[in-house]
């Protein structure tokens, strides 16, 4: 698919055809593209948990979501559970602190205050967006969701994730089924001249 069309078609898909698994070659391409994401100092301080078996996916949802009385049989989280593939991208800050203490980078310590923003999370986000776009390119749908802060530890214990890794969210992937439009979209796009500033900040 043309790049422009991928950008144009991209949207968060929350309902999937539960009877149509993601072919292995597409799954592998999603992951191969994730690993092509850029990273500061080529640190690649990330890890990806891939869940396909029904019992693994069930464990994911149990570990990461609390019972939500507002999420009825047709609620978004219930619909998300139809996704045949879940990929959890995780960042590893420690790898970045180590990388930038190496001689070619010149910092002599692992001081976190050198980092104005957490590039471990941003870079892992780059990888997540590449998975999301690659799914669109392959004719599938995908959604990137955050995990509730108070369920992160449950998730890590359930899947044996080492202390150093932090899930930055999760991607559901699958063939699209008739979906509901997110109510958030009613907010509309912020207009270009509100968010883009030429030369100096204005407005």
């Amino acid at each position: 698919m043309e790049f422009d069309e991928v950008v144009r078609r991209r949207r968060m898909v929350r309902t999937y055809d539960p009877d149509r698994p993601v072919p292995a070659e597409i799954r592998d391409k999603l992951l191969a593209h994730a690993l092509r994401a850029p990273s500061a100092g080529f640190s690649q301080g990330w890890g990806f948990l891939v869940l396909e078996k029904p019992e693994d996916r069930e464990l994911f949802w149990t570990a990461t979501t609390a019972d939500d009385p507002d999420d009825g049989p047709d609620g978004w989280l219930t619909r998300m559970r139809t996704a045949p593939l879940i990929i959890v991208p995780m960042s590893n800050k420690s790898v970045y602190l180590d990388r930038y203490a190496q001689s070619d980078k010149g910092w002599t310590d692992r001081d976190e205050s050198r980092w104005p923003v957490p590039y471990w999370d941003i870079d892992t986000g780059f990888a997540a967006l590449l998975v999301h776009l690659t799914a669109v390119d392959a004719g599938l749908g995908s959604c990137f969701i955050g995990l509730p802060a108070d369920r992160v530890e449950h998730f890590k214990v359930a899947f044996g994730v080492p202390e150093a890794f932090t899930p930055i969210g999760a991607l559901t992937v699958g063939y699209r089924a008739p979906d509901k439009r997110s109510p958030s979209l009613r907010r509309g796009h912020r207009p270009m001249d509100e968010v883009v500033h030429h030369g100096r900040w204005t407005g």
Copy 2:
């Protein structure tokens, strides 16, 4: 260009043809695609500073970089200054805290501890990656760089950026000139089986 080819060709470009500006229609497309990035709750808590005039670009480099004795006439930062266009993506945490205190999201306060990772930075990173990929698609090159933590305030004052916004880095954009390969690439890609885990964390 096909999406796959954009992903394959993508690399950080650090040397540009200084005599070839970025056409206005390509610049506008880079920004339009940035604004199509996904964001939590459709918050769109971001802003983009666009620098094209030589004096604005000079101010950017002066404000954000210290004199580096290791960066000689052929150093990477000197080469980066050949870029005819700089886009600085900035995140606004406050917009996210406000958004999730609204009634349809159900959180009743702006407590930051609800956020396991900073989605304001990750979402703004999504926008930055879309700019980077769109440049490749348009036949140009681009580089995403971090700003040194101790220069962020200089930068914000120089360009009149409000307190609430934080630059997550900067993108240089332009037509490619013969470049040098980043030494970091000698580290090589981490192998797939080191970073991808099926069903449970392994290794």
